[in-house]
């Protein structure tokens, strides 16, 4: 059985259909990159995975059971911003998950346990290249460093599923490439299932194991809300050619124009 099964999934906000008839199954350990026009419902899909939004029709199953309808530790997330806690230093941000787990009431640990957690956190921060910024607060870090911190914070909890919503969208292309390397590296080591949204189509083509394109098959320029987006392409990464990229780009661009108008 696949870890995640999506069966005829719909999401509507009132009259507006955002997603319709999604069908897919994802195995444990896959790395799915999600691309699509702005406003076509990528974040909405991620929110359903997270449990902060629920499907209006159909099913979203984790191990055959409906996915829990509130966030919990099985699903980690990195948002585009506000992902790290501003009142904690880098190392405290990464220690937090361990503290919460060992002390249900105080949410704080002391003494030897604290030292152990700190060591783990320092190791984790080193693996994302932040070993020089342990005691810094998030506002003292650059955007890229904050996102690396958010990754470290999410990964130390060892979630089964990691959700990434354009985590590097605001970064320079060069840094973004480094960050992708980092994510791929951590994914290989930790054996997680990853869903990553990105804006850049070409990027999605070379990242992870599988790429989904969210797009509206039917498009009514007057009322773009009357039809939802579907998974129009579900491609294994690595063996697709230039022609496919071009036709996807064209189709996504025309959807983007209608949604953006």
């Amino acid at each position: 059985m696949a870890a995640i099964e999506i069966k005829n999934l719909w999401k509507e906000y009132g009259q507006d259909v955002v997603l319709e008839r999604l069908n897919a199954s994802v195995e444990e350990g896959e790395f799915v990159t999600v691309v699509g026009a702005s406003g076509c419902g990528k974040t909405t899909f991620l929110k359903m995975m997270l449990g902060t939004e629920s499907p209006t029709r159909g099913q979203l199953l984790l191990d055959g059971k409906p996915i829990p309808d509130e966030p919990d530790e099985t699903r980690g997330i990195v948002f585009q911003r506000y992902s790290v806690l501003p009142h904690l230093t880098a190392v405290e941000n990464v220690m937090l998950a361990g503290e919460l787990e060992s002390s249900r009431w105080l949410g704080r640990v002391f003494g030897g346990k604290r030292r152990a957690l700190r060591e783990q956190a320092e190791e984790m921060l080193a693996s994302v290249g932040l070993d020089h910024a342990l005691g810094k607060y998030p506002h003292e870090l650059s955007g890229g460093m904050q996102q690396r911190l958010a990754l470290a914070q999410a990964l130390i909890k060892k979630p089964r599923i990691l959700l990434l919503d354009e985590p590097f969208g605001a970064l320079d292309p060069g840094i973004r490439r480094d960050m992708h390397e980092l994510v791929l590296d951590l994914w290989r080591k930790q054996d997680l299932t990853v869903f990553m949204i990105t804006h850049d189509l070409a990027e999605g083509f070379f990242l992870g194991t599988r790429m989904w394109v969210f797009d509206k098959e039917r498009l009514d320029p007057q009322t773009p809300g009357s039809y939802g987006a579907r998974i129009t392409y579900d491609l294994p990464v690595g063996n697709s050619d230039k022609g496919t990229l071009q036709s996807i780009t064209q189709s996504v661009d025309s959807t983007a124009r209608v949604l953006g108008a």
């Binding site: 997270l50 501003p86 937090l96 998950a97 949410g107 999410a154």
Partner: protein, 271 residues
């Protein structure tokens, strides 16, 4: 030359510009006071500098003939104690209720309408009720401060708690936090610096309620003294007392600001 809107004062210029209005006011006062005292040496409205220093000497540095205590010291301690207790209790209530209503929708639904209603009652209008219920002692005065500023603190802190980005609350849950942990490790620490700034904002009203309560029923206190000597038109005592109260208010505000900057660098750095 640069446009006026782009011109900044240098470090020296800023001090000079800031002091200028004070100097002008002082000079105007001295001129007016001289003129009035020339016409009538017994004039009480604008006393001379020497009567100020006499009054300050008498109130602050000589034991009172009747009680043997230093009047200004006794008044200051009494007022600061009432203010401190009143503000501390209000802050505590504001913190607890504000966090509860700001982060738990069920509490918000139950308590918010009550708080909103209470905040519309003019506190001074229920001062007589307080005196009737709590007597003329310390409790009534402290209660007036509490009733006066707590609704504001609750509402302000509730809003601050609601402003914490949803992303962070979700983030805490994905790190395994339960509701209590979200409150103790996310909401509470993030609210603390905001509590300090709300308290700074509410101190003006707190002084108002304190002085009003002391004016009506007290046996010592800064507000009591001002209203007592008003009967003898003792401007030479009233004005130094007003200046002293202003200074205390400034000092408390300054101390709270500095404490907040020192204790919560992340809050002030991110702004």
């Amino acid at each position: 030359m640069k446009k006026l809107i782009n011109r900044q004062a240098g470090p020296v210029g800023r001090w000079a510009l800031g002091l200028l209005p004070f100097v002008i006011l002082a000079v105007l006062y001295l001129v007016a006071s001289d003129a009035r005292l020339d016409a009538n040496p017994n004039d009480k409205l604008l006393p001379s500098l020497s009567s100020f220093s006499d009054a300050i000497e008498r109130m602050a540095f000589e034991p009172s003939k009747r009680s043997g205590e230093y009047t200004l010291l006794v008044d200051t301690l009494a007022s600061l104690q009432r203010l401190g207790i009143g503000v501390a209790i209000s802050a505590l209530i504001g913190l607890v209720v504000g966090i509860a209503t700001g982060s738990l929708p069920l509490f918000r639904a139950g308590i918010s309408p009550l708080v909103t209603g209470m905040s519309l009652v003019p506190p001074l209008a229920i001062l007589p009720i307080l005196f009737i219920i709590f007597g003329l002692g310390e409790l009534a005065k402290v209660m007036l401060i509490i009733i006066g500023i707590t609704p504001f603190l609750i509402r302000d802190l509730q809003q601050r708690a609601e402003e914490i980005p949803t992303e962070q609350i979700i983030k805490m849950q994905t790190l395994g936090a339960n509701t209590w942990q979200i409150i103790t490790r996310l909401v509470w620490p993030q609210i603390m610096p905001r509590l300090l700034s709300s308290v700074r904002l509410s101190l003006g009203s707190a002084w108002l309620f304190l002085i009003a309560a002391e004016a009506i029923a007290a046996t010592e206190g800064l507000g009591y003294r001002i209203f007592l000597v008003r009967r003898y038109l003792a401007m030479d005592v009233i004005l130094p007392y007003v200046a002293w109260i202003t200074f205390l208010a400034f000092a408390i505000d300054f101390a709270l600001k500095r404490y907040s900057q020192w204790r919560y660098p992340w809050f002030h750095g991110a702004q």
